[in-house]
């Protein structure tokens, strides 16, 4: 049953579940931020190269927020969590599937989209490599945070808007370490982003599962 749930979550996130755009939307959002930036700060190549990596990270963070309204609320509303509970499926497993699905539908595409973004910012191959490594280390944590916060706000009115606001401050450690990893000899930052990610991925299924159970009462 777990695989069936994972497949459903993937399909829901890829296609947008009949709502606004699916997995493509965050990526387009990410790319348009990357395209807008040179217009906003001017065509100074050295300036773009210095700020580009950080902007990629901010754009990644914002892109991971877009699907938040689909990660908890609709399934609670439509009774999916109830039906899974009746079938003895622990909420922790369901939320673990959801973290995996959320990550798979935004992170790989984002890492791919970082290639043209890097070209726009005139980043060197070395810097691009650092960005990709940092995204790989940090995005699982963003996915875990997103699912956790979507579950926490699922029962609330206006929860979706709140979810984005709540996620931003909590994503600060990942952002600091991830962007820190962009500097020369910044491998420590990337490693720390990875550590924060691991911690979040380990905790989030339990926190999110408990939040869904609480929202049911």
């Amino acid at each position: 049953m777990w695989l069936a749930i994972l497949r459903r979550d993937l399909a829901m996130l890829l296609t947008g579940g009949g709502r606004r755009g699916g997995a493509l939307l965050p990526v387009l959002f990410f790319l348009s931020v990357a395209i807008l930036l040179p217009f906003a700060i001017g065509p100074d190549a050295s300036m773009l190269a210095r700020t580009g990596g950080g902007i990629v990270w901010v754009a990644a963070l914002l892109a991971s927020i877009l699907p938040l309204d689909r990660l908890g609320e609709p399934d609670l509303e439509q009774g999916f969590f109830d039906q899974w509970a009746l079938r003895g499926m622990a909420e922790e497993w369901i939320m673990a599937a959801r973290i995996a699905a959320h990550w798979l539908t935004f992170a790989p595409l984002l890492m791919l989209a970082a290639l043209p973004a890097a070209a726009l910012f005139d980043l060197s191959a070395d810097q691009l490599w650092r960005i990709e490594l940092g995204l790989l280390a940090g995005t699982p944590g963003l996915a875990a945070l997103g699912v956790m916060i979507a579950a926490l706000t699922a029962g609330l009115r206006g929860g979706a808007a709140l979810a984005g606001l709540l996620l931003l401050p909590m994503a600060v450690p990942i952002l600091i370490f991830g962007a820190g990893g962009l500097q020369q000899n910044g491998e420590g930052g990337t490693a720390l982003a990875g550590a924060v990610s691991l911690l979040l991925v380990a905790v989030a299924p339990f926190a999110a599962g408990a939040a869904i159970r609480a929202a049911r009462e």
């Binding site: 049953m1 069936a4 749930i5 459903r8 829901m12 579940g17 009949g18 709502r19 509303e77 439509q78 009774g79 999916f80 109830d82 039906q83 899974w84 509970a85 009746l86 079938r87 049911r216 009462e217």
Partner: protein, 202 residues
């Protein structure tokens, strides 16, 4: 339909249940005991706690006090149909068939029995209230769960569909299943037992 898979004797026993929603006591001291082949209709006006009792019996809501013991898998039909609105009905039902490991031919039989076999290509959001209710009924009964909890199963159904629900419930009980239906409308269930929740209102 095929006879259901052999069931171990199912039962559901609730003892001295009480339930609080918000700061209002809905009912207290409510006990019931059903075993295989028995059916029960929960009655009472709106807001008396029928749905809360159903969710307590399903294990989705904790009662304030009291015990629940269930023997056998439980299936719940309520106003949350758990069918994805944008998918064609057939694919929305297939998801639950995969979750419950229900073979495709069994799902097709259930769809015929509940009268949704012609609607499988229609996206769920275009179905009428009654059609959606019948689709959710198909999702509920396909998995061979011996304990059926039907919360307002007749809402939005025409008289032919009401008869269909009663027929399915009768057959389920004959095969040794348990059926508890909360309904403010009359519904003919085997044995004709009723439990009025107003009798336990606190």
């Amino acid at each position: 339909m095929e006879p259901a898979a052999p069931m171990t004797q199912p039962s559901i026993i609730a003892e001295r249940l009480s339930c609080v929603r918000g700061d209002r006591m809905l009912f207290a001291g409510l006990s019931l005991r059903l075993s295989g082949g028995e059916a029960l209709q929960l009655t009472g006006p709106n807001g008396v706690g029928k749905s809360s009792l159903m969710r307590i019996l399903a294990g989705l809501l904790r009662p304030l006090s009291g015990d629940i013991r269930r023997e056998g898998q439980t299936a719940l039909l309520d106003e949350r149909h758990a069918l994805e609105a944008h998918l064609p009905l057939g694919r929305a039902l297939d998801f639950w068939a995969r979750c419950d490991r229900v073979p495709a031919d069994r799902m097709a039989e259930v769809a015929r029995a509940t009268g949704v076999a012609d609607l499988l290509d229609v996206p769920v959001r275009y179905l009428s209230t009654g059609q959606r209710k019948r689709a959710a009924l198909a999702r509920t009964i396909a998995g061979h769960a011996p304990i059926w909890l039907l919360d307002e199963p007749l809402n939005g159904l025409d008289s032919a569909s009401v008869a269909m629900v009663e027929r399915l419930a009768a057959r389920h009980c004959k095969q040794g299943g348990i059926c508890i239906a909360a309904s403010h409308q009359p519904i003919a269930l085997p044995g004709g037992h009723r439990l009025d929740i107003t009798d336990f209102a606190a």
